[in-house]
Every structure is written in structure tokens, then in C-alpha cells.
Symmetry: C2
Subunit: 211 residues, 2 copies
């Protein structure tokens, strides 16, 4: 079934000006021209893509450039599946520091690499997470905290348990075409939920501790 | 001790054009004019503030507007301490959906409120986390996942343990002036670290599961 932009707006909960903006930015593929002049028509694919964009934009708080990289990866049928996952995952990462790594970040990176090795985690040398942890550790130190990479231990424990559970509960037969979207949605949406729950739990435990 | 912009750049690892941009955007207070014409001089306060901005920008991936709201809260000496924490915490939150809550978000909100009540968490009715969870749950449902708020259970368990640990390990006598900065840094930097570790743990467990 096809629909006009007004129905697409009603069913998605996204305003017509916002839909037009996504069309201009080529996040949403153009509708098919219909017989009536100046009236494009849209299908279920458009509705689903619009919901994905809104989830990344509103829930994931991703900017338009990053959303474009993610949907480009989802649409790139030429990439083999395991590369697709990597490309989409990397599109989600924030851009690297334009000023490049400083000496203290390079130093922190050595500590982070050793920390991950001690955890026994098998992750690629160029996984963006390594650089993020190094930048974070260096930032903590610059702000006057005298800490080693083991400051991340409780976070690594929590992440390890969660990731194990998340991987275990993927249904065995997800169609290949949906796998990337599923990964993107799972990464971004549950990340946001975890952050919201951590802040709510802070409020709850602060109130109990009287701080 | 005071320094010129070149030394401020060298010690902070932030380029001079980036420092000038932060000065123009009033994220960084102006330096003091010195005797030499057109040469402002900067102190340790500027260096520390610059490190905070860089941590929020590069590690926390916050945009300039949000960083401005956070540093404004830190600098607002008129606010009582507990309000200061709340203001800074809210400044960190992403902006609300400009299109406002739709019916399905309102429906999800009821489920989220009940979920939090069942957990026994004492959090304010208007805590931004409630709205974020409702938007997330509605987004999952719109994308075709037939889930209740209990989809968040493993994340709530992880957040509960982490937040308890984080609150317990705050040194008992942090000077009041530093408390807000400490909270902001702790929220943003460890959030980023947790996200990076979750993605690294995904890579590790995916490799082990052969998926």
C-alpha cells in the first residue's frame, strides 16, 4: 500500500517539515511520483526508515551526518555482511579528536591496551573503543585525578555481563538484511536506556545515602 | 603564574584556533590584558576550564550549546549546591523531541513508570530518564519489536550495581565548589567509557560465539 506525505506524517508521528528536511538531506529515499501533479507517494519502506531515523536522532541523539553514514552502511548491499556490521558500528562512533592524540593520550593508550589484555578480551588493535578509553583516561588525569586504567574495572565487569547476555539472546535466524539494523538499533537504543537508568539509579542511591 | 595563549595551547594540547573559538563562544573566560599590546595572559583556571571543555567535547561528544549550559551551571555561584547538581545534570541531557510526545510515547511512559516502581527506585516524577526510557521503548515498538518495559531489566541491574558503587566511593569531603564538576566529569567520562567497553565486549563475545 502507498500513502501521501500527510499520512506518512500521521503514521510516523514526524511532522511534514521534518520529513521534507530528511528527504532534502537524502536520509529518506524519494517517494514515487504519482498521477496527481506534485504528489509523491510513499510505502512501508519509507515508514520504517523514518522510524529508524527518528530513533537514532531523538533517542540516540546522533547528528545528521552520523545518521547518514549509518543508513548508507545499511543500504550498501555490496558489502559482505561481517564488513557491513563493522562499517555501521564505526559510523556510530564519534569523530576522532581533530587535534590528534597528544603525548598523554598515547601514554594512556599503553595502559588501556594492557588493561584489556589482562581482561583477556580479544578485540582488534584498531577498535575505536581502545582510543576512546585512552582519551577518557588522559582526560581524567588532566583534570587532576591520579588514576590507572583499572579505574574502569567496575565498568568493564558491567559491560562484560551485558554484552554476553546481549549476544546470547540474539535469535539464531535473523535475516541477513535485518542484522545490521538490529545491531544499530540495539547498540544505540539500549545504550541510551542504560545511560538513563544509570542516572536514575544515581538519583535513587543519592537520596538513600543522603548526599 | 600566568601564560600566553601559545603556552596555554602547548600545556592543554588544544590548538590556538580552537582556543580562540572557545573564547569567542564564551565557554572560556577572557584572559587578562597584559602590558604588551594585544597579548592577553591566562592562568591555571583557564587551563583547567579548557581541559574540562575538551573532556566534554572530545570524550563526551557534547555539542557547544550543551557544554555552555554545563559550564554556566558550574559557574552559577548563586544556586544552592543541591540545585546546582540538578541543573548541571539536566544540562547534560539531550534536548526533548521537538515534535513532542506522541500517543505511543505516552503509553510507553505508563509502562516505564510502573517498571521503575516495581524496581523500588525513588526518582522524581520529572526526572529526564523516565522520558528517555519511554521514548526508547516506543521507538523499539515502532521498529517492530513486541516488548514490554521489562526489556530493560538487565540494564537496570547493571546500572543499579554501578550507581551504588559510584555513590559509595565518593570521598566524604569533596569541597562544595568541586562537587558539580566532579559529578559532570563522572557522569560524562565514565558514561563514555562504559559505552566503549560495551562495544569492545560485543566484539569479544561475538568473536567467541562465532557470529
Amino acid at each position: 500500500m502507498t500513502m501521501r506525505i500527510s499520512e506518512l506524517s500521521r503514521r510516523s508521528g514526524v511532522s511534514i517539515p521534518t520529513i521534507k528536511y530528511y528527504l532534502r538531506e537524502r536520509l529518506l529515499p524519494p517517494g514515487e511520483s504519482s498521477s496527481a501533479a506534485n504528489q509523491a507517494s510513499y510505502g512501508e519502506t519509507h515508514l520504517h526508515r523514518l522510524r529508524l531515523i527518528r530513533a537514532l536522532r531523538v533517542v540516540g541523539d546522533l547528528d545528521i551526518d552520523r545518521i547518514r553514514r549509518v543508513v548508507d552502511a545499511i543500504d550498501d548491499v555490496a558489502l559482505p555482511r561481517h564488513e557491513l556490521l563493522g562499517v555501521a558500528q564505526r559510523a556510530l562512533e564519534p569523530p576522532a579528536d581533530p587535534d590528534g592524540p597528544t603525548d598523554d593520550v598515547r601514554e594512556a593508550r599503553v595502559d588501556v591496551d594492557q588493561f584489556l589484555e589482562e581482561l583477556g578480551w580479544e578485540v582488534a588493535e584498531d577498535a575505536p573503543g581502545r582510543a576512546i578509553l585512552a582519551t577518557t583516561l588522559a582526560a581524567l588525569r588532566r583534570l587532576g585525578r591520579d588514576v590507572g586504567a583499572d579505574v574502569f574495572t567496575p565498568y568493564a565487569d558491567a559491560a562484560d555481563r551485558l554484552a554476553w547476555w546481549e549476544i546470547e539472546t540474539i535469535p539464531p535466524s535473523v535475516p541477513a538484511g535485518d542484522a545490521v539494523e538490529r545491531m544499530v538499533v540495539g547498540t544505540v537504543l539500549f545504550e541510551r536506556a542504560l545511560m538513563a537508568l544509570r542516572r536514575l539509579a544515581h538519583e535513587h542511591h543519592s537520596a538513600r545515602a543522603g548526599r
